[in-house]
């Protein structure tokens, strides 16, 4: 099923919608959001300079740092009382990136999520278990609302508690699972370990995955674990843009369809910032169209991908983006949570008993991401007892947990054991291959 007629329009009609909404959006932000107006003035561009879609490139970029500089709501275009929902995601430092929605924004968002749920094969007959963590993360409530819109029955399970997850999958005859792909693999293996064969004993046949990328080797594993009947697709979004709902794979599995009547994607060279021709790989830049609370123009997502404009066999004419193949910055995705090394550094530098050098190791154990942070002990006062060293370890772990929203492993080592760098430090080692 195709949820909206806008997904199948001829290209010239899609572009006509984009141009009309772009003009409105640019006038809207110039009139309402001071940081945008200042940037546009500095770049010497006015709303009336936008005549064609190509004029988009005249507009300045928006960066994640803009959210930090105008924390918490300096980029918002409406009064607080018009906001009906806030969400938040990781910032590059201690403060999160806060996003807000008006009633119209929520409706637009959840309709876009409904589109990608349909792309992945969901219908009103499905029983959907949401195994994303709830809270301020947009993933859980986004898929929750989108699946309700199409009439599916939604179980807001949240993450963790594998026993309960399995009980609901069985007893409620769940047909659709929403999770990170790595958690879905972990859960599937747990189920098999208990002697349950998902392809015979469960009704589950659809997986809608997000929060982290799903590689083709992961999809192959998914079929081994859950059975060949399992149709698994992934979708793309980020809280700044709205959350999930920006793009999603259809069951043809040839890229994620971008909801182009609401988002204009561009691909740029992250170094030269030049816009690249269609089909070339680079950093994805997204302009949101028609958002009221938090309009966003030329947002640097940091995600590396390419766009394909050929129509798809599924009937949709919207362009497709390839699976994300890396980052233009050093952001890590750990168990679906975005982590910036700067966040970790900020925590560590406040702890006097350890030195300023650190290393981050990311591995996948038992299908789940494990992040180990190694720091150098420098304070000899802690050597009077093991209990004091243990307390230091606990204190660092607790501070990291509260900053990142994620449990980490910690290793204390002797001073000067970590490698020193003269130029740019290489502190992160990611041993995950193809997401496995």
């Amino acid at each position: 099923m195709i949820w909206a007629k806008e997904e199948t329009l001829p290209r010239d009609e899609i572009e006509a919608i984009q141009l009309r909404k772009l003009g409105e959006t640019v006038r809207y932000i110039y009139g309402r959001v001071k940081p945008y107006r200042d940037k546009m003035d500095a770049a010497g561009v006015k709303p009336e300079d936008i005549h064609t879609l190509d004029d988009l490139k005249k507009l300045p970029f928006t960066y994640k740092a803009d959210f930090k500089d105008h924390y918490p709501d300096g980029l918002f275009a409406v009064d607080k009382k018009e906001i009906v929902r806030y969400h938040a995601s990781s910032g590059t430092t201690g403060k999160p990136t806060v996003v807000g929605y008006t009633r119209n924004d929520l409706d637009m968002w959840l309709n876009n999520v409904a589109r990608l749920a349909c792309m992945g094969g969901a219908t009103a007959d499905d029983v959907a278990q949401i195994s994303f963590g709830y809270g301020t993360f947009t993933g859980a409530l986004g898929l929750h609302g989108g699946l309700e819109k199409i009439g599916a029955s939604v179980i807001p399970m949240s993450s963790g508690n594998t026993n309960k997850q399995i009980m609901f999958l069985q007893d409620m005859e769940v047909t659709l699972l929403v999770a990170t792909p790595s958690y879905a693999l972990h859960l599937g293996e747990e189920i098999r370990r208990r002697g349950i064969d998902p392809s015979k004993d469960l009704k589950l046949h659809i997986g809608l995955f997000g929060g982290e990328g799903m590689t083709e080797p992961m999809r192959d594993e998914m079929h081994k674990v859950w059975g060949d009947q399992f149709v698994c697709t992934q979708n793309y979004g980020m809280s700044e843009l709205c959350g999930p709902g920006v793009a999603g794979e259809c069951t043809e599995l040839c890229g994620m369809h971008v909801n182009e009547d609401w988002f204009i994607p561009e691909i740029i060279d992250p170094k030269t910032e030049e816009v690249l021709p269609p089909g070339e790989r680079g950093e994805l830049v997204v302009t949101c169209l028609g958002k009221e609370a938090l309009p966003l123009v030329r947002y640097r997502t940091g995600d590396m991908t390419r766009l394909m404009y050929e129509p798809c066999k599924c009937g949709r004419t919207t362009c497709r983006m390839e699976n994300i193949s890396g980052r233009a910055d050093d952001m890590l995705v750990i168990r679906g949570v975005n982590v910036f090394p700067t966040q970790i550094e900020e925590v560590l530098l406040k702890i006097d008993e350890i030195g300023p050098h650190y290393e981050i190791l990311v591995e996948r154990k038992n299908r789940l991401d494990v992040m180990t942070i190694t720091v150098e002990l420098i304070d000899d006062r802690l050597l009077d007892s093991y209990a004091q060293l243990g307390k230091l370890e606990e204190r660092i772990k607790t501070a990291l947990k509260s900053q990142l929203g994620l449990a980490t492993q910690l290793r204390l080592v002797a001073p000067n054991s970590l490698q020193r760098f003269e130029g740019k430090a290489k502190r992160v080692t990611d041993l995950r291959k193809d997401g496995l």
């Binding site: 002990l377 420098i378 304070d379 000899d380 006062r381 050597l383 009077d384 007892s385 093991y386 060293l389 290793r411 204390l412 080592v413 002797a414 001073p415 000067n416 054991s417």
Partner: protein, 139 residues
């Protein structure tokens, strides 16, 4: 009372040797050594003849090193003497954090080295019972 040095070491091959080789180069004599079975890192505790030299050499080589006070009690090499010393401490409600032992010189009795948070009382209880306490110049 005597001074002990504590060194932070990682649990991997060669880590204790790196400490002893620094002390050897610095001509420091090791009288006693103790470590515990721990998963990732350990505290290596040593009694040496020159704790000041040991601390400065190890610190210079980048080791996290601490000098702290412990009590050394010389016991007669007879059955029941350790039990007697521990009974004295127990009766005095003195908690022992950890304990290890060494022999000063050939022909001499064993020395028990222990750490406590209550040095004054520990010393008093032992002296009152005529237990001989070892001082640094004897090391």
């Amino acid at each position: 009372m005597i001074r002990q040095i504590s060194v932070f070491v990682e649990n991997q091959p060669g880590s204790m040797m790196r400490v002893t080789s620094v002390l050897t180069e610095a001509h420091v004599n090791i009288r006693a050594i103790s470590t515990f079975d721990t998963p990732e890192f350990g505290i290596m505790r040593l009694v040496v003849d020159d704790p000041v030299q040991a601390k400065s050499s190890l610190t210079e080589k980048g080791f996290v090193t601490r000098v702290s006070t412990v009590i050394g009690a010389e016991l007669k090499d007879e059955k029941g003497n350790l039990n007697q010393m521990l009974t004295l401490l127990a009766d005095g409600q003195i908690n022992v954090n950890y304990i290890y032992s060494f022999v000063i010189r050939e022909g001499k009795a064993p020395v028990m080295v222990f750490s406590t948070d209550d040095y004054e009382n520990a010393e008093k209880v032992l002296r009152d019972a005529d237990v001989r306490l070892v001082e640094e110049d004897e090391l």
